[in-house]
Symmetry: C2
Subunit: 513 residues, 2 copies
Amino acid sequence: MAVEISRRRVLAAAAAGAALVPVARTASATPSDPVPAKWDEEVDVLIVGSGFAGLAAAYEAKKAGASVLVIEKMRTPGGNSIINGGIMSAPGCPGQIAEGIKDSPALLAADMLREGQGYNNPEKVKFLAEHALDTYWWCEKELGVRWVKDKIGQEGGHSVPRHAYTINGSGSEIVNAELRTLEKMGVKPRLRCFMERIVRDSDGRVKGLVVREGYRFGKPDSGKRKAILARRAVVLCHGGFGADVTYRMHQDPKLTAKFDTTNQPGATSEAWRESSRVGCQIIQADWIQCGPWNSPVEKGMGIALYFAQGGAASFGVWLDTKTGKRFVNELANRKVRADAIINRNNAGHTCIALTDSLGVEHLRSSRKGILEKCLERGCVKKYETLEDVAKAHSIPMEALKKTIADHNEDLAAGKDREFGRYINKLCKPMGTGPWYVSILSPKVHHCMGGILTDNDAQALDISTDKPIPGLFAAGEATGGVHGAVRLGSCATLDCLVNGRVAGRRAAAEKPWA
Amino acid sequence: MAVEISRRRVLAAAAAGAALVPVARTASATPSDPVPAKWDEEVDVLIVGSGFAGLAAAYEAKKAGASVLVIEKMRTPGGNSIINGGIMSAPGCPGQIAEGIKDSPALLAADMLREGQGYNNPEKVKFLAEHALDTYWWCEKELGVRWVKDKIGQEGGHSVPRHAYTINGSGSEIVNAELRTLEKMGVKPRLRCFMERIVRDSDGRVKGLVVREGYRFGKPDSGKRKAILARRAVVLCHGGFGADVTYRMHQDPKLTAKFDTTNQPGATSEAWRESSRVGCQIIQADWIQCGPWNSPVEKGMGIALYFAQGGAASFGVWLDTKTGKRFVNELANRKVRADAIINRNNAGHTCIALTDSLGVEHLRSSRKGILEKCLERGCVKKYETLEDVAKAHSIPMEALKKTIADHNEDLAAGKDREFGRYINKLCKPMGTGPWYVSILSPKVHHCMGGILTDNDAQALDISTDKPIPGLFAAGEATGGVHGAVRLGSCATLDCLVNGRVAGRRAAAEKPWA
């Protein structure tokens, strides 16, 4: 039987000169922080992070009758979610039906496991895929998210087009809908409130947080300390560490400061370190995804990717300017494509995304005005003739012509003979100017690893593998869902599905105070 | 300035009803264990694990004048090291000179970084490579290790043959030399002594261990608890977790119980969990190497690998019996080869290592008697004719003949046209029976990840990235040296070089008591 020994009792005994009373191995082994003698505030469910996952958790916890506080260290809510591309995989959604695409949760799960190289937890993947469609409708019906109903998109690594678009082409549509809904429910994220400490007591239970209110990002000592008691649970939805060069170089020394990131500046490691400190298990943190579709002309995520991915990847070609040839399946997963570009870049080659006026038609209708914005910003260039493209980018003209002719033959044959790319049936033969080009430059984009959780979103203790009472986690803060490679449009799904599970479970946790 | 607050003072204040005095963020954030009021035993340097690394650390610490205790949880010393193949990379060693191989530390480092996919720390790799040759001589001169002087071997991923062999073809030659030398110095590992707790105090310093003496592996509650004070430092050299199915499935869910391991049964995760619990950073634990060269006929590491690697990989071919063709560079790194075999196995194919009587000559002289042992055990089979090989393994005869003819042409041309394998100049054309075959079956072999350390082998704190005072680590217990793929014959080197660094540094640590 597990013998649980109060830390304070042990210390009292030690102070009294008694011999060590060692803690039994079967009890939670994690040493505890001092529990505040006085808490400044109390709440049932205390949620860290205001992105897709944190807000979804807040919705479910509140709906279940819990009092809820969401804290966010930055000045604005939404984390990376609010600057996300607003796409979500949903087999069976209206856009798929409109375009006659055959799909299933099982096919989505198979795609995730294949591209995840089996590093993902098959049960978690299955759960996610089976809840994709109801999450789509939940977004619409419960939150008021406006989806584009007659279009469907395809990110790399997916067998078929299967992601819905939000009407503004951004995750902000979902975050803002979550925020509006929560406000009506009486929940508003507390901004500039930084989680400094998770308070895990000697009984192994998480009892609350020490935070800094009025925190200014980048100033670790700013703000006022406050101890907030979480009667039922703390839910960690703090996202990834893509913007934290030191921590990401611990995991993968290649990703030095010379690599830009698509993440917001607050995507740093404090909460990763803190959860590990109190006994969480951080798994697979070295699987850090670089987006293959960014432009070096812009800082951060930018907008060129909408052209490179939503235009050229399905309706054009990606090619190496030195050879004039395609070099990868433009719909391969992000790792395959980013690695292919990084290797070419390191060998002194430049890679571009290219399509013509017909190739941007789908983009023009699915993301209205985006192409014009790209042209204004200079991250996509327009050329009247193919000769102009070749000249501007020093591409051997004959090779370029052959690449386009081969692509057109592939379309006619319904088969990419060289790289096996999925042939989108809306794709038309290339050759109608003007032509559009963006330069491809990988940027750090997503952390696949994170806190190890069970299927109830409960964090597992490093010493016992048992759930840490009072501690849940969801979204990019967790590991094991995406494996080696996260597929585009699956992060939104992960955050919403598992954020909701975490919120429901947290609200059902037995109060300790 | 960092404000360090005594944990006991904080608790005393809390107990007195005062408000929380939060620990400053710049101080070590890791909560501490109760420090025993009475220690049962004291030593300067307390080393966990009695493999290559732990014993090398013990040697250096003792030589520097420290009192040393090495604890080992198993009944016998040596961990995986004592069942290791007894090979070590050493550019410039007598075997290379005897065979006229041109090599350098820089080339070894380049090989390690390339195959490590840049997940390794370049400074650590450089340090290792530059200390390979002096470590070879240290083994011989200080420990009395007997190396084979006129042979040199090549493991996958190395550009050139560069590893020395111990005379008995086993790591036991090195471990036993370490044990003998240490015994003369008055140090003898304490067996069946399990590290239950690392005692890290409120000032962030590691002060000792709680152990179980008379521990019986597999019985967590066995043995007698004892608190051992480490005046200068604890050195963690506990090795990997290849035999721990639960923990390895956290990192890589594919590696289920159906995969055998080459590791000794004690290669489990307790120390990994415990170091994480007290604030170490575990990095890259999901890079788990499977050895590609094992035989399903044997349990564990077995001996068939000596034939598959030391015979057929350099002096024969590896082929898929269904096609009769080679399928991989037989000297590619372990991951490339293991993945290639696993994929074929999953598709229902069988892969074998094959060579002829001339192809086993090098093996016969570098590891005397091993081929006969393999034949006795049945993990290598002998066939008089190539027809017999084809028949026994259901290989299409024409394809098999062509594979051998192609191989012989490659030899003559000095170039492997299909896979780019290094052509060993001692390799002779195949065709002289009898023929030898082993079946290839990957087994979990090595953990590339582990504790994040600085270049002084000091473990870095998860909250501060600063060294944890009094805590060092070396060998397979650490991460960042080998990156994605450890090359064969580099683990021994890592353990000895970094074990020595850790021992020297631990002995120089300022005593706390």
